[in-house]
Amino acid sequence: MSYLLDIVGSFIIAGMVIMILLAVNINNSASSSVILFTTIEQRKIKDLSELIEYDLYKLGYRIPDEKIAIADSTEIKFYADINDNDLADSIHYYLGEITDLSSTTNPNDRPLHRQRNDQNSLHSQIPVVDFQLSYFDSIGNSLDYSSLTSSAGRDLIKSIKIKITVESDEMYDEKYRTSEWKKKISPKNLR
């Protein structure tokens, strides 16, 4: 009888241990996946932010005349000698349409275009879900987008605030993993 109880008890305990192990493993796998997706998004936004900072800090470098050609909420085109080779370059960031990015399952992502010197060969696109630009004058007042349609209005820009949000291409656990980056940059050549 005691032999039978030992076997039954062992089964129950073994079953509990197995269940605990399974639960731990499932939870562990789930959190690993979440961290993995989040880390990938972090990496994407880190690389993107470095690129944007690289470009924007040079805005106006060795450009004697008009430094910013377009300044809008989701678009900016500016001039700078990006490579410090005595040749003016144009850099154009603009947000594409959601329909432009159908290769992912994420219904919110769209391409952020970066085009250099208006050349297709120097054109790249990065998936984002949001790209917002706002502009400030020398004393930090926000500039209305409608005032930035003229060259004189754009001459007032001294700082640019950027907000970017990226999401994972694919859904996990019924959610897209999100990363966001915000920064206000004051290019020193905008004086």
Partner: protein, 387 residues
């Protein structure tokens, strides 16, 4: 049976271990992302701060240069920097190269700044003619234009000053034609003048300079020392003798810093000789009581043009042309006499002319003047930043 359970348990533990290792790796990558991002920002901040520090060092010591790279620890990172004279974009500039390292991140900023010995317009020059006293009689019936001019008398739009700037009320009693620039709008010389070209009742709030040195932001005695140096044709006279009513002892054309100190209570007149008179011409004593009753020129051998800055305590009868500006230091200028018959002479504001004059002063003294902000309130102008 126990064997199977052991296999399941060990398998579960193995899976758990593998998961943990993977998770750790991913978390490490996430942490690395954050650290990289922080290091990137930090190295940028450190590089920017080092550039600011070097600009301040340059402001304090115009001869500051570091021709071979120097290392320095700053805010937990390491920077190497150099400060060299260079020729860039058709200009003679100072190149500041800073490389900052923080963690694995490196940031380089190259800054091109003006040489601090470049000239400047002292901010106390608020008009073609500036005084802390009543100017009604002093300006007589001259042509006074605060619009900016180059050395060839071409107008430079929107960068000018008032025609007249005074701390008292102003009335144009002798029908002078006055123009100027106000809020980036140029107004040609007219009589009666438009109100925009006159700055009257300006409240200096104790900030009006009481000496020629104070105009340029120099320590007292600096301009006198510059004049005594003889550099760039500079001259210094103390109570010079008179020949008739005119002072003698100057070599013409004057240039650099011409400093005439009058402490004997006599009234003086000056008669410019020859063409090409330029620089900073000063008549002054410590009490601001020196009196120049006539600023004239020899019509037989001089064009009567002074290119630069005329600084006097009290002066009257200005029968020369001045391309640059006039600043009078005395609180008691002429209020009763009139000086009509001066309609053939002018004072045109010229930032280029004043900058040329102050540049020479800066080169002689090694001091760039009291402009802007920063240590010593001096500022090095930054032209280009590559970061």
């Amino acid at each position: 049976m126990a064997r199977y359970i052991m296999i399941i348990v060990l398998g579960g533990m193995f899976t758990f271990g593998v998961n943990n290792i993977t998770q750790n790796s991913v978390v490490n990558q996430g942490t690395k992302n954050s650290v990289d991002n922080y290091s990137f920002s930090r190295s940028h901040d450190i590089a920017g701060s080092m550039v600011d520090i070097i600009l301040m060092r340059l402001s304090n010591d115009l001869k500051y240069r570091v021709n071979s790279e120097e290392p320095e620890y700053l805010y937990g990172g390491e920077v190497t920097y150099s400060v060299e004279d260079t020729f860039f974009e058709n200009d003679s500039l100072i190149k500041i190269t800073v490389v900052a390292e923080y963690g694995d991140a490196t940031k380089t900023i190259i800054t091109y700044a003006d040489k601090p010995t470049n000239g400047w317009v002292p901010p106390v020059i608020r008009g073609a003619w500036t005084a802390n006293a009543n100017l009604n009689n002093t300006i007589s019936d001259m042509f006074i234009d605060g619009r900016d001019h180059d050395l060839n008398l071409n107008l430079l739009p929107t960068t000018g000053k008032f025609g007249v700037s005074t701390s008292t009320a102003f009335t144009n009693v002798e029908n002078a034609a006055i123009g100027g620039t106000n809020n980036f709008v140029d107004y040609p010389m007219t009589f009666p003048e438009v109100a925009e070209v006159i700055e009257e009742n300006y409240n200096w709030d104790g900030g009006f300079p009481e000496s020629p040195d104070a105009i340029l932001g120099y320590p007292e005695g600096t301009l006198k020392t510059a004049a005594l140096s003889g550099e760039y044709g500079s001259q210094y006279l103390l109570n010079p003798p008179l020949s008739g009513k005119y002072l003698v002892g100057l070599t013409y054309p004057i240039s650099g810093v011409t400093y005439i100190e009058i402490t004997n209570g006599k009234d003086y007149e000056i008669e410019l000789q020859q063409n090409g008179n330029s620089g900073i011409l000063v008549f002054h004593n410590d009490d601001r009581t020196s009196r120049v009753k006539g600023v004239k020129f020899d019509k037989d051998n001089s064009d009567g043009l002074l290119t630069g800055l005329l600084v006097t305590d009290y002066s009257f009868h200005h029968h020369i042309d001045i391309l640059g500006g006039v600043l009078q230091l005395s609180p008691n200028l002429e209020t009763s006499k009139s000086c009509s018959g001066n309609k053939d002479h002018w004072v045109y504001y010229s930032s280029e002319s004043i900058s040329n004059a102050t540049e020479i002063a800066a080169q002689i003294t090694g001091l760039s003047g009291n402009v802007g902000y920063g240590f010593g309130k001096k500022r090095v102008n930054v032209n280009y930043v590559y970061e």
